[in-house]
């Protein structure tokens, strides 16, 4: 119902959202009671999602988001760094997943949680952003884009969507970074790390960001190092580090480095 409404919003009056929510209050409870338990072998960045059946609206779904993604703002824009491992339980399903979604030439979204949920909703966001551009003859702001995404998934709150994404971009107010998730959180910030390896990544970035003025090189190195350290200790992160830099002209794909190569490199530097 909500999806149909999002797809149909020909008159993207943002006033559509208000109207739809009313029809939803009743539909929500029906959906919750009918929810089946999620199978453990669904390919996703989440660990086996063991959720108990029909506990009613109080049930909590634990999504552990086996991944490490991070993004931080600095003087010259936003650095986005992600790993590329996908796990299904303890099985490594893939080491070469693209966890950065290119929404448009100046907006990036990261993936954590359910792969299908992230890529589907971010593609839908790309469509909405493009329509906004055509209607208003100017690029959509990062704030508005993240809000569109947040409002879209909020209509499905409680129905089992799993998505933790960072919307990164550059608009007329400068660099923009928002964390949006399927719980309905939408937070603006200078630094976010999402996933099971996020704590390790925070450690590296927090210590590296002490000096105020990082050059682009230094910032990229910091992001790369943070993801590497996370993959070193977190079993559910690994593969390659994909690094992007968002600046005033849009985003640039800086590098793709295999974590094992980085390991050799850092070891050599230690010696």
């Amino acid at each position: 119902m909500a999806l149909a409404s999002v797809l149909q919003s020909e008159s993207v009056d943002f006033s559509n959202y208000g109207r739809q929510r009313h029809g939803f209050a009743s539909g929500l409870y029906e959906a919750e009671l009918g929810l089946e338990s999620v199978g453990g072998d669904r390919l996703s960045f989440a660990l086996s999602t063991s959720c108990s059946n029909g506990d009613g609206p109080d049930r909590k779904i634990e999504f552990l988001h086996g991944t490490t993604t991070l993004a931080f703002k600095f003087q010259h824009g936003v650095i986005v760094a992600v790993d590329s491992r996908a796990t299904a339980g303890s099985y490594i399903a893939s080491q070469t997943v693209k966890k950065v979604i290119e929404i448009n030439p100046y907006l990036l979204g990261t993936m954590a949680g359910g792969a299908a949920d992230c890529s589907f909703w971010e593609r839908l966001l790309a469509r909405q952003c493009r329509v906004y551009e055509l209607r208003n003859k100017e690029r959509i702001s990062v704030a508005a884009a993240s809000k569109l995404l947040a409002n879209m998934v909020y209509q499905y709150k409680g129905m089992g969507l799993s998505m933790g994404t960072m919307v990164c971009g550059w608009d007329k107010t400068g660099p923009g970074l928002y964390y949006v998730d399927s719980e309905g959180n939408r937070v603006c910030g200078d630094l976010f790390a999402v996933g099971s390896g996020s704590m390790y990544a925070y450690g590296i970035v927090d210590s590296g960001l002490k000096q105020k003025d990082l050059t682009v090189e230094e910032a990229c190195d910091l992001g790369r190092r943070a993801i590497y350290q996370a993959t070193y200790r977190d079993a559910y992160s690994g593969g390659q580090v994909n690094l992007y830099h968002v600046h005033s002209e849009g985003w640039t794909r800086v590098s793709q480095s295999d974590v094992l190569m980085l390991h050799q490199q850092y070891q050599a530097e230690k010696a």
């Binding site: 008159s11 009056d13 943002f14 006033s15 959202y17 208000g18 209607r135 208003n136 702001s141 704030a143 508005a144 809000k147 569109l148 409002n151």
Partner: protein, 248 residues
């Protein structure tokens, strides 16, 4: 009854309901809008109020948001609906986009709303034309006009309602870079334009201005009277100069 369209094409391609709506607009009291450099001005002809009626309830200039306002000509009741929807949309936009509307956006919204009513079951078009003025967040002043068919255009100065043609011709002659050089000059131009068609001067004029980064201000009748007197003095001075030129 509700599944028959009221607005249908005539054999020669006209939408008569829309044209009749435009006739209704032509019967409404005149409104004029002027886009200055740092100010936008809206003026309307105030219909004389009955003795027992409270003046305040007959407001034809309405704020849609802090930085946008509109005046209309035509069916007051229809205007109330349009204004309400526009006000809600201004806030909705602030909520979802975290930015105030641009004047063009809200004009487009109103125009789309009006067009929808020319292509709906059992509904007639809105019988109003609107003049929408304001400043975008980048500081550019804007003036737009919409009409019952749902089209909208940007203008430097325009008039709608009764005698709109006369007023527009006056504006075409008198809207120059000089005449809108200062805020005061722009306001006086609006008053002058209305004086062309309004009986008995300042008492029947309602005036509102928006300055950049400020909210809508309705001018008090005292201020309007002062300006009208200034204008009349200037007219006399002009007439004197011409006489002197002729005599020498």
């Amino acid at each position: 009854i509700y599944d028959r369209a009221i607005t249908v094409f005539s054999p020669d391609g006209h939408l008569f309901q829309v044209e009749y709506a435009q006739e209704a607009v032509k019967k409404g009291s005149t409104a004029v809008g002027i886009r200055g450099k740092d100010i936008v001005v809206l003026g309307v002809e105030k219909k004389s109020v009955a003795k027992l009626q409270e003046e305040r309830t007959v407001r034809k200039i309405c704020a849609l948001d802090d930085h946008v306002c509109m005046a209309f000509a035509g069916l007051t009741a229809d205007a109330r609906i349009v204004i309400n929807r526009a006000r809600v949309e201004c806030q909705s936009h602030r909520l979802t986009v975290e930015d105030p509307v641009t004047v063009e956006y809200i004009t487009r919204h109103i125009a789309t709303l009006k067009q929808r009513y020319t292509q709906s079951n059992g509904r007639r078009p809105f019988g109003i034309s609107a003049l929408i003025v304001g400043f975008d967040s980048d500081g550019t002043p804007r003036l737009y006009q919409t009409d019952p068919s749902g089209t909208y255009h940007a203008w430097k100065a325009n008039a709608i309602g009764r005698s709109a043609k006369t007023v527009r011709e006056f504006l075409e002659k008198n809207y120059t870079e000089e005449s809108i050089a200062t805020d005061n000059e722009a306001i006086k131009l609006a008053i002058k334009a209305l004086l062309e068609v309004v009986q008995s001067g300042g008492k029947n004029i309602e005036l509102a201005v928006i300055r950049r980064n400020q909210s809508l201000k309705l001018l008090e009748s005292k201020e309007i009277e002062t300006l009208v007197t200034e204008i009349e003095k200037e007219k006399e001075e002009e007439a004197e100069k011409k006489k002197q030129k002729k005599s020498t």
